[in-house]
């Protein structure tokens, strides 16, 4: 098994750059996804693609992020998503916050097999 968590890390690093750095862990999203920050400024892991979305970054597993500190959408607010390229990941629910795994609280090597993300290969390679 590879280390697909590195794919989440790549996407997460881009999100951090856009939001000015990591945000503290918060309660999970409504449907259980790992979430950091809050409703005003934050990001959330989303394993599901959204076929109806016009945003190509939502056509696969992705990290949603938003920053409404300056206003609502169209008034300075930002909402976008970062695609997890090549990553098809399984649902871990509340078992683990992969954002924390990435940030070093749990190293890749610490993840037991049953908690690792299945690597479906990288179609970009």
């Amino acid at each position: 098994m590879g280390l697909p968590i590195s794919k989440i890390r790549k996407a997460l690093e881009k999100v951090h750059k856009k939001l000015g750095g990591p945000l503290p862990q918060s309660k999970p999203g409504k449907y259980g996804s790992a979430q950091h920050g809050d409703s005003k400024k934050g990001y959330r892991l989303d394993y599901e693609k959204h076929p109806n979305s016009t945003n190509p970054n939502e056509q696969g597993p992705h990290i949603n992020y938003w920053d409404y500190t300056k206003g609502k959408r169209g008034r300075g607010g930002i909402k976008d998503a970062e695609l997890i390229k090549g990553g098809v990941v399984g649902f871990l629910g509340s078992l683990l916050d992969p954002f924390d795994a990435i940030s070093g609280e749990l190293g890749n090597g610490d993840l037991p097999d049953h908690l690792r993300y299945p690597d479906m290969g990288d179609p970009c390679n």
Binding site: S39, R44, N55, W66, R75, G77
Partner: protein, 148 residues
């Protein structure tokens, strides 16, 4: 209702106050949770997290409708599927533990001041408990008709 949304509204609509809303007390919210669990024939011990998941799973996508599009109208959408909401509706922001009541006309008129894409997955319903409209964070829309 998040305080920052009220501040944004008042900046964007100078001189106007944020529409009336009332945050339900936990006992009221719990009643809605129990009522929906019962109407959906779920075990009385169904957790709130499972309830919102089940609602989502039972709902049908309304294809071609995106709530983040410029022309989205919640009243037109509901009317087009035969739903004419009561004057007051409820917004379930999380797992039946954060519910706001507000006027449907205000939600219709100021929808993009209330629902923010990205963070917000909301369920909308009225006292009839006969339907739930779910607006997901990416703007996709799902609808559940609940038999009496």
């Amino acid at each position: 209702m998040e305080k920052f949304k009220i501040e944004h509204f008042e900046n964007d609509h100078p001189g106007k106050k944020f529409p009336w809303f009332r945050t339900l007390q936990s006992s009221e919210a719990e009643k809605f949770k129990q009522s929906f669990s019962s109407r959906l024939s779920l075990d009385a011990n169904t957790t709130s997290e499972n309830l919102v998941r089940i609602i989502l799973e039972k709902s049908n996508f309304i294809e071609t409708i995106q709530a983040d599009s410029e022309h989205f109208s919640i009243s037109k959408l509901l009317n087009s599927i035969g739903v004419f909401p009561m004057n007051n509706i409820c917004l379930n922001w999380y797992r039946f533990d954060e519910i706001d009541e507000l006027y449907f006309d205000d939600l219709d008129k100021y929808f993009d001041d209330i629902w923010y894409p990205g963070p917000d997955d909301i369920d909308i319903f009225d006292q009839t408990l006969s339907w739930i409209l779910t607006i997901l964070h990416d703007g996709s829309v799902k609808f559940l008709q609940i038999e009496k």
